[in-house]
């Protein structure tokens, strides 16, 4: 139990590596399937969907770290968060590259048209652009030079990225919204957990302040 709550250095390295490989697995799986001609009749669509799905999943997983930590007390989870976020960015980049290269063949006129005219592409593109500064400032050095408070303020944009990403998916499906609705549901739950946690904290603080004030009064009396 103690090993799980506070894994030693060695054990944490093991966990870290396992997560690293697990996050790479979807890509490997797609590449291997592609080589075996097992991506179905429309491989480019399969790659576009696969990379998009994993961007969303990893984004939600990144956002799930804090609530999970609060619920379980597994504080080391936060040390996996940067990797998950960067993987989300990695799959997002692959997703964008698939669109630019395999889908549009760098036809910039058509691409700009798409970004301006197709709301779901506008949102997807905005989400990617918003992920860029987060990825760039993800290093320890950047965190130090920005200062914790500013860094945190900037990185709150990840919420917006997730909302844009899920809406991007919602707006592109033809009719069956089951899957985007699942992503939206998970995102909603994560927001609810944060809100609940924040409310509890303010209440606790208020009670604390109250108690302090009472204590102070008693002392002064």
């Amino acid at each position: 139990m103690q090993a799980l709550l506070t894994p030693d250095r060695e054990r944490f390295t093991l966990i870290w590596r396992a997560v690293w490989i697990a996050c790479l697995w979807p890509l490997l799986d797609m590449v291997l399937s592609g080589m075996r001609d097992a991506l179905g009749a429309n491989p480019i669509e399969a790659i576009t969907r696969g990379t998009g799905d994993w961007t969303l999943r990893l984004l939600l997983l990144t956002l799930a770290i804090t609530p999970l930590r609060q619920l379980t007390g597994l504080h080391w989870l936060v040390r996996l968060r940067r990797m998950l976020g960067l993987y989300a960015f990695f799959y997002g980049s692959l997703h964008l590259m698939t669109y630019l290269w395999l889908d549009q063949f760098f036809d910039w006129v058509a691409i700009v048209d798409d970004i301006i005219e197709r709301p779901f592409i506008t949102l997807g593109f905005a989400a990617f652009v918003l992920m860029l500064p987060l990825a760039v400032t993800s290093t320890n050095a950047m965190m130090r030079s920005m200062g914790g408070r500013n860094w945190q303020r900037l990185h709150r944009a990840v919420y917006l990225v997730a909302v844009l990403g899920v809406t991007h998916y919602w707006w592109l499906v033809k009719k069956d919204i089951t899957e985007p609705a699942i992503y939206a549901g998970v995102l909603g739950l994560l927001f609810a957990l944060r809100l609940w946690h924040a409310l509890r904290r303010t209440r606790r603080l208020a009670v604390q302040a109250d108690a302090d004030a009472n204590g102070a009064r008693r002392v002064s009396a």
Binding site: G40, A41, L102, A110, D176
Partner: protein, 317 residues
């Protein structure tokens, strides 16, 4: 020197018929295991073995056929939009085997002199079967080239002698919740309904398809009989049809009912009229790497453009 023409060497002279017919069993029973499996995959002459459905016999060629490269049978039968079986492209191939296509009847009714209910066997006898190699353009901006087998829809429609007041034809397709898992979800209003103007329905390009690649149509592609309207987006080509009704009012198709701004009654393939959410200017031909330009009326303009003379196709999308 006498060179024997290959035509007069009957297969029976080379291999005893029973052995030839049972060649797969023979190999299997010979206990050759993996070796046999490898071998019979490579046996010559398998080109006639087909894809597993009964052959539809000799077929007439059609001048309407394109000579473009055909899409593989595997792709045509594993990448389908047939929401009655689920919204994933592979759902129809997975679940459609449960659908019963025999016995099957289609009732032809409405504004006609002689309403009729025809069994699929009778439909097959109405006209000689033809092979029609058509392009199919999906509204999702992908396309295929498919060797359908069928007959002009007009052969079927003439049976009931439409009244002068009939202006449209409405197609209703099977919605059997017991065999079609997608019908339990409310993604569209079931049963699926499509419609054509009478002149579109009577057009010689408009096909009732009963086969694919020379064989009986696989269930996931709309067995036992489906519509194929090659100059319109794929969803207009209703599958597994059970009722055809002549009307004087424009039918409301299922997709129009679901999203009127996105799917109009005509839904002609048109590179200049975009879907509100994506461009229709280009398409991905399955099996090709790059995209190709989408053609007006999917390349059938010479045959069908005159149907729409004077119409604003942006308004009548």
């Amino acid at each position: 020197m006498l060179i024997r023409h290959p035509d007069d060497i009957a297969p029976s002279e080379i291999t005893p018929r029973a052995l030839f017919d049972g060649r797969r069993d023979f190999l299997r029973h010979a206990g050759l295991g993996v070796g046999a499996a490898l071998l019979y995959g490579a046996l010559p002459g398998d080109a006639h073995a087909g894809y597993g459905n009964p052959s539809l016999g000799p077929l007439q060629k059609s001048p309407f056929s394109t000579d473009e490269k055909l899409n593989d049978y595997k792709d045509i039968t594993n990448y389908c939009n047939f929401y009655e079986f689920g919204t994933d492209k592979t759902d129809p191939a997975r679940y459609a085997q449960r659908m019963k296509t025999r016995p099957w009847t289609v009732s032809i009714e409405g504004l006609v002199h002689k309403p009729k209910t025809l069994a699929i066997e009778d439909v097959l006898k109405l006209a000689p079967l033809e092979e029609r190699i058509y392009r199919l353009r999906c509204v999702e901006a992908w396309s295929m080239v498919i060797p359908w087998v069928g007959m002009p829809l007009s052969a079927l429609l003439k049976q009931v002698e439409p009244l002068g007041s009939a202006k449209y034809v409405e197609f209703t397709t099977l919605a059997d919740a017991k065999t079609m898992p997608g019908v339990n979800s409310r993604v569209l209003d079931w049963p699926y309904v499509e419609g054509l103007r009478l002149d579109e329905a009577m057009h010689p390009l408009t096909l009732i398809a009963v086969g694919l690649y020379g064989e009986v149509l696989p269930n996931q592609n709309g067995a036992p009989m489906r519509l194929v309207v090659p100059w319109k987006y794929g969803f207009k080509s209703a599958k597994s049809i059970v009722r055809i009704r002549f009307t004087d009012k424009e039918p409301v198709s299922s997709w129009t009912a679901a999203a009127p701004r996105e799917y109009g009654f005509y839904s002609n393939v048109n590179p200049e009229v975009d879907h509100p959410r994506w461009s229709q200017a280009r398409e991905r031909r399955l099996g090709e790497f790059g995209k190709r330009k989408t053609l007006m009326f999917n390349g059938y303009g010479d045959q069908v453009a005159s149907l729409y003379t004077g119409m604003d196709l942006k308004k009548n999308y």
